[in-house]
């Protein structure tokens, strides 16, 4: 099945805590579910995460964070993704995320919020179900969006988005 579209996931540990056992276990689970996992290691800045996500053209980002810095780091990641026109990437989080922060995290567009004890199968199924379907199409529709952003009016994708128009105006 040479042409089966592989889901590519970036697993990142932002912030300063070095506890990456959980991130590694999840990386392994995603691999065992047939996905290609780019594991970046610990102490990632939002810039590093977004830059890696763009270069690797991933379909999803999963951030594991235990340090409590999520409310500082997550908004920055989302902002940088938007700035780079890469906000069609599914962004998920896991680790220690206090219940009271979950609504704010979800409002940022970050999904999942996998706390301790989340079954691995839940996470892999969630990734499969929530990656933007057009990213997995064989013809990869976002290509047209890139083109539209580059040359306004050249093509008009049916599913254009506000964020992309912003990019056009850049």
């Amino acid at each position: 099945m040479a042409d089966e579209r592989k889901i590519r996931v970036l697993v990142a540990k932002p912030g300063l805590d070095g506890h990456d056992r959980g991130a590694k276990v999840i990386a392994r689970a995603l691999r065992d579910a047939g996905m290609e996992v780019i594991y970046t290691g610990i102490r990632q800045t939002p810039q590093m995460i977004v830059e890696a996500a763009i270069q690797e053209d991933v379909d999803a980002i999963l951030m594991s964070i235990l340090s409590g810095a999520h409310m500082a780091i997550f908004p920055k990641v989302m902002e940088l993704l938007r700035e780079n026109g890469a906000d069609d990437i599914l962004v998920m989080a896991g680790g220690i995320l206090p219940d009271e922060d979950i609504p704010a995290i979800e409002a940022m567009g970050i999904k999942g919020n996998f706390g301790p004890g989340t079954p691995l199968a839940t996470i892999t199924a969630f990734v499969r179900a929530n990656v933007r379907p057009e990213r997995l199409e064989h013809d990869l529709a976002p290509l047209e969006q890139i083109d539209a952003a580059f040359e306004p009016g050249a093509t008009t994708p049916a599913h254009d988005e506000p964020a992309r128009r912003e990019e056009t105006g850049r």
Binding site: A2, K6, E36, T40, L143, D147
Partner: protein, 338 residues
């Protein structure tokens, strides 16, 4: 069972769109480059048209392959080398290949962990790639990805292979300069690799040279090289360098030798010869693929399964069946075995 190569649809992608992504890639747009690599990796219908347009813009990058056994320090060496080359104001594209699981098809691509220091440099582009069942130490898409990076204007493209043993020598067909990385204390392992990746080295690196036994390893390599008669006819003398990728020792010397090797290739005309060999194998591979597609189009999966079953049950044989099929798609002369 299905034929290798999978299904490929011929899509009617607007040419305009392809031109745009090509223009953006050539202008150094990182998202466009990343997306083109994804299209290449997934054998998307428009990938070949994009690559066809990129070809004229390639041929400027120095393509360096880094290979060696797992754990030899390839990723760290690539990071240090890239840093050194950045000091020399070169721009760098890195393709880091890691193995796919043969069971699930998934992969953990961890080479970026060692390359974090390169993050944030706009003149460095790193792409991790899963081997996706390819056995030669590279992925099927690696060479086309090199083409995309070359066209995007990177001065140097570094390919880091899957941790390689004896037979993963595909890198020779993809790179202009092949660096084989080994480490002290491998003992008989050096004997073991001499037939395989030892022969393909343009430069040897004994990495982790701060460990005991580095001089002995270098001496063993020197001896093995002196025994290789094919080497004597070549003008390039394979250097054996000692490096420590964690401290950076020996890295400037490696960068110097890489430049020297490229200059030697140009001078001896080997660079042009390599280019010719590469173009030939690429064209053959594309023709092979076209052939497989034609066979798939002519023979449905059900008929294919039935024919396979006939051979398995000894009601037919592979030679007769293949000859008949070839004749049907207009390929074979009629020397079908009776």
């Amino acid at each position: 069972m299905s034929l290798p190569g999978g299904k490929r649809r011929v899509a009617s992608m607007p040419t305009q769109a392809n031109e745009n992504i090509v223009t953006r890639l050539l202008a150094g747009d990182r998202r466009a480059l990343a997306r083109v690599v994804t299209l290449i990796e997934n054998h998307a219908p428009q990938a070949q048209r994009i690559l066809a347009q990129l070809h004229a813009h390639t041929g400027r990058a120095h393509i360096i392959g880094i290979t060696g056994s797992p754990g030899a320090g390839k990723s760290t060496l690539v990071m240090q080398l890239a840093r050194e080359l950045r000091r020399r104001e070169r721009t760098i594209g890195v393709i880091a290949v890691d193995p796919s699981s043969p069971f699930t098809g998934g992969a953990i691509l961890g080479d970026r962990i060692r390359m974090q220091e390169l993050s944030g440099d706009p003149h460095v582009f790193i792409r991790s790639m899963a081997s996706r069942g390819s056995l030669g130490g590279l992925a099927v898409s690696t060479r086309d990805t090199v083409r995309a990076l070359d066209a995007a204007g990177f001065d140097v493209v570094i390919i880091e292979t899957v941790g390689a043993g004896q037979a993963e020598v595909e890198i020779v067909r993809a790179a202009q300069t092949v660096v084989v990385v080994t480490v002290p204390g491998m003992g008989d392992d050096i004997q073991a690799i001499k037939a395989g990746i030892l022969e393909i080295a343009d430069i040897f690196v004994v990495n982790k040279a701060d460990r005991p036994g580095a001089d002995q390893t270098a001496a063993e390599l020197r001896m093995l090289l002196s025994l290789d008669d094919t080497r004597k006819e070549r003008s390039w003398r394979v250097p054996i360098l000692k490096t420590s990728a964690t401290t950076g020792a020996g890295i400037p010397e490696l960068a110097d030798k890489l430049d020297e090797h490229l200059a030697a290739l140009k001078e001896s005309g080997q660079l042009a010869a390599r280019g010719g060999r590469q173009a030939q194998s690429e064209m053959l591979a594309l023709l092979h693929q076209a052939l497989v597609e034609r066979i798939e189009a002519a023979i449905g999966p059900e008929e294919w399964d039935r024919l396979v079953q006939e051979v398995v049950e000894r009601r037919s044989d592979p030679y007769t069946t293949a000859a008949r099929l070839a004749a049907r798609i207009g390929l074979a002369p009629s020397h079908e075995p009776a």
